[in-house]
Symmetry: C2
């Protein structure tokens, strides 16, 4: 089994423009990639997305009150939303996690915003951290 | 200014042995590096630490009730403790952050457990995420 890389860290923020300023300064990326994910009703800013070898910081803000991120912010406030980790074979990993007894949000992979296969592990199993698994479908 | 890499993500856990099991499964690293940091009174497990290109997952558990991680756990419970980001020049970065008006925990760098220069930015300035900056003193 290969060791896995962190894809990104998702941070929920109430004020995207304000958060972009400090994360630009911290990461050294003054031009984060900004786009909307319409089905999740979020606006996203990804830092150091151009050929950057390490994990990326992804800021998430809701575009609507019924966005999952709006619910997160009203319940928990700003802060870490999830950590996304690459896996080589998401079906095999989910099977291993089910056999282990982990609590899964997605027992089968589904397509994420960028078309890659993703699945979430429930924070109950991971020390209260929402973990996303991602299998790249193109490289 | 160079774009910066994530060094590691620190997760505070109450039961290190239990957390190691699921993070071994998620990361594919069955032999995390385990050691104690005596001045912080924590036991640490780092996954994928051997020449791994991306950010690492670091589990932290207290070895004493007066450990900063014990205080964190009793106040907030298990979960993300901090994100550590590499910087090329920590003094320059801290100066930029001070000029920006960021709230800093360390206005000057200090030596971390591994001998590298580190400094923490207060979560108040970063969407409620404790950010550690790290300048490697040896490569």
């Amino acid at each position: 089994m290969d060791k896995q890389n962190i894809s990104h860290i998702g941070i929920a923020v109430a004020d995207l423009e304000k958060a972009i300023k400090i994360y630009s300064l911290i990461t050294g990326d003054n031009k984060p990639e900004i786009f909307e994910v319409y089905d999740q009703k979020v606006k996203v800013a990804i830092f150091s997305s151009d050929g950057f070898p390490g994990g990326k910081i992804e800021l998430l803000t809701p575009t609507s009150d019924d966005s999952p991120i709006a619910k997160f912010l009203s319940k928990k406030g700003e802060g870490l939303h999830h950590i996304c980790i690459y896996v080589d074979d998401i079906n095999q990993k989910l099977e291993e996690l089910i056999n282990f007894g982990a609590e899964l949000i997605d027992k089968k992979p589904r397509k994420g915003a960028e078309g890659h296969l993703i699945a979430f592990i429930h924070p109950n199993s991971t020390g209260n951290v929402l973990i996303e698994l991602e299998q790249r479908t193109t490289e």
